[in-house]
Homo-oligomer: 258 residues x 2
């Protein structure tokens, strides 16, 4: 396809921004309606450096056989009363429930919560900061790279405190992320270098998810190495007890200090 | 994945636009390097209404067995000296060359031209408006929906004249497009209705292709029904002789008037 055409004057001014809404929920709803079939729905992650990355939405419905080793390892540690934070349509919650665990899901996407409920899961619609009424859990899950909710070096103390409010001494936090230091994508290496130059952690990504003409608000999402997680939790209520890495896939196990 | 996070003040201001460049060439180059393997590279088409659509770049390398019936029909009509306009990495040119035809490709994407040459094809890097020196062809191809290069009702007379300058009386123009009247995508129906309200053809799309942090310039790309093609060519040097439609896939055969 040739890409050049005479651009009419004012063409750029006629370009609209996507509407802000539950893009993630729309994606998983459409994918679920398509039988969670690979190739049926693709999501676009847009990063603040102008980079876009498309992935197959069916991965939100993948079963344990498709998970990376870090996520499998994390799920093996789950015990007691479990809260799956940012559960989406519930791939981990479903597998853990089927394995006999008691799992509650939490997600702020109405569309994702509706799909998770259709799949028979117990899910609460809401934000992490509003979840204290749910009581204390033995295991908090931040899987699917949801360690990212720590956001940034700046925001992570508050998020770690919110997580601690859902735990009791000895409770564990199982979180997965990606170690992107050796990314093969030049734009990602440049973005990380720029973050470092700005005094941020290299993996502090500012992103939004786009689905057709809907986009989530821009949000911060952190990718961290094990060493960076150790640094982030040092002065928090949490202690890093264990970690597991396979390739770029990382999982960590934190325990609430007594 | 929950999507809400406290957005730091000024976060939106820190969002960069992609750099303008040969996004299409980057996509096909990466996909070719990955063996044109499905699932290896995805492209993002962004439309001026803020909608994004991701597709698997490997489709630019598909063979005749994967083509829709309209494109197959169009290729069956090819004869004589052939110019494949907007050939990309050359899926049609390759199949036609292998079938014994003499095909020259034309594309304005340096990356796509390089890949097509690696595949053994004869390709010229350039714009349609600069192609007159290539002489006259018996068959002009606008496949892969490249009827879209007509752009709009406003731009199509000039493009049809440029095409005529590459033909002689009796030469044919084989073009494919999509009849999107019954799109299942609500945003697309809304976009088409808005175009109509603005006095445009409903299928006058303003789009750009994005690859990681690179985007093509915005350009106009037309999707038309057979009836709309008939209307567009009425006062042109071309006559609509034949058409073939299977589902939404449309191909037309035009002949240069004597």
């Amino acid at each position: 396809m040739t890409i050049q055409a005479d651009v009419a004057p004012g063409l750029l001014e006629q370009v609209d921004q996507p509407r802000v809404g539950d893009a993630f929920g729309e994606l998983v709803t459409r994918c679920w309606a398509a039988g969670a079939r690979p190739g049926s729905v693709f999501e676009v992650l847009e990063r603040a450096d102008g980079a876009v990355f498309a992935t197959d939405t069916s991965h939100w419905f993948s079963g344990p056989a498709q998970w990376n080793g870090a996520e499998t390892w994390a799920c093996e540690q789950a015990r007691g009363r479990i809260l799956d934070i940012g559960c989406g349509p519930g791939r981990h919650a479903l597998a853990l429930t089927e394995a006999g665990h008691h799992v509650l899901g939490l997600d702020s996407s109405p569309g994702a919560v509706a799909v998770a409920e259709e799949r028979g899961l117990s899910v609460v619609l809401g934000e992490l900061g509003e979840a204290e009424a749910l009581g204390a859990f033995d295991t908090l899950l931040l899987l699917g790279n949801n360690l990212g909710f720590l956001g940034s070096r700046e925001s992570s103390p508050a998020v770690l405190a919110q997580l601690a409010a859902l735990a009791r001494p000895g409770s564990q936090l199982l979180a997965s992320t990606r170690d992107m230091r050796n990314s093969q994508v030049p734009e990602t290496l440049a973005y990380r270098a720029r973050n470092r130059a700005l005094g941020r952690l290299p993996g502090e990504y500012r992103v939004r998810i786009r689905s057709r003409a809907t986009a989530t608000p821009w949000f911060e999402y952190l990718y961290a190495s094990v060493d960076e997680v150790r640094e982030l939790v040092r002065d928090s209520p949490w202690a890093l007890c264990d970690s597991h890495q396979e390739g770029t896939a990382v999982a960590v196990r934190l325990e609430l200090r007594g």
